[in-house]
Symmetry: C2
Subunit: 267 residues, 2 copies
Amino acid sequence: MKIVWIGAGNLATQLGEALHRAGHETLQVFSRTMASAEALAGRLGCPATDDLDAVVSGADVYIFSVKDGVLEGLVSRIAPRTGDALCLHTAGSIPMDVFRGHARRYGVLYPMQTFSKDCPVDFKEIPVFVEASAPDVFAQTEQLARSVSDRVKEMSTERRRRLHLAAVFACNFVNHCYALAADVLGRDGIPFDVMWPLIDETARKVHRLPPVEAQTGPAVRYDRNVMVRQCAMLDGEPERKALYEMMSRSIHALALRNEAERKETND
Amino acid sequence: MKIVWIGAGNLATQLGEALHRAGHETLQVFSRTMASAEALAGRLGCPATDDLDAVVSGADVYIFSVKDGVLEGLVSRIAPRTGDALCLHTAGSIPMDVFRGHARRYGVLYPMQTFSKDCPVDFKEIPVFVEASAPDVFAQTEQLARSVSDRVKEMSTERRRRLHLAAVFACNFVNHCYALAADVLGRDGIPFDVMWPLIDETARKVHRLPPVEAQTGPAVRYDRNVMVRQCAMLDGEPERKALYEMMSRSIHALALRNEAERKETND
């Protein structure tokens, strides 16, 4: 298919390259900043533009991959000019209906992964959730998704929103915990790579156990001495301290709930 | 070396088995609950006891691996009877000096990993941090540690405490974020394994990028629309909602600080 990209961020870069490798042709990359547009266009071997009025017609698919706050504006300007082409967005949290009244054939193609421009990923393994405005549109969207991923599933706007919330917990919040650990280590000049075996095993474990069963450490043991001392180490940083306390309480609460549920099941 | 275990939890189980495989002999396992003592003793082929007065003498090493709150009591009861044997504990947050006045030769052997009884780990890869009361004691502690791990390092009580705090962030808090994600998915009947590629990539990425650079998602983009909508999905759960808000603010604050630091470096 012939593709026009609206947006040139991390996701557009990785999905754009995956579609390129799968043999699709990119006609153009639009971004509000020319440097971004050119960077992705260079990777995909096509022209770049930062001029909304210069977005070309004649593509089979227009893929909108931009910040939520600007998506609606771009959809209302560009989608009406796309005729019978397929209009897709790639966002977990945005309803498919953002296109309603602007495009004739539209849908969502949400690859659930964390993308950075220079971290190549194996797209085949990435779960891709699709939704479309009509059966023939769905078939086309699914075909496009299947050309890059082996794990394509249909999912409604409502369920996709909850999936995206779960992804924020399992990825963005997780990564932030890594960042806070790096910060703690940095002050002692300890390189972050000392954490890799722990990080990898923590991720590996939840392939074998439900996360609530995999939990270890002071909060789940309710080892108050350790928690109090660790909190004291964060005395100069009230926000981090509050975060530590809130996470510890939440871990303990979930462990108690899990235990109660198991007991009930056994009774 | 001949080993006596004081404690039979997750860490004792995994380290006990690793030492067993490395050819050390376990003389006995003590635990406050006989069932736990017997479970580990069964794995290590030795007697079990829940009677403090029955802890045998004549071992080369006594390894204390128990909850922080009970460690001091056990040390004061058992360590004085160990003569010239090596007394070790395995806790990140507890000072080596917990043994002072109770044991003659003592130290710490802290394997930084998350252990569950039935999740075997490759001990060779696990960073083990050691500390000891005197050079000859250090040599013996290091020798024991090196018999199971290729990544043994000396570390003081003070630095180990900070390391353990970092480990709580990078492991326990991370795992809790997985658990919260599983909870969100569970309500929609979506199996947790859909998250594996995202979880694995999130862990993989911080092998290549500092975590603060690896961050993606609504909070770091400061995509207010998405954050407000995701918060609204947590309306019925004030604690989760507060956690979501606090994590999002913390992500944004760290991103701003990182940007400011980079700018300063470039100026």
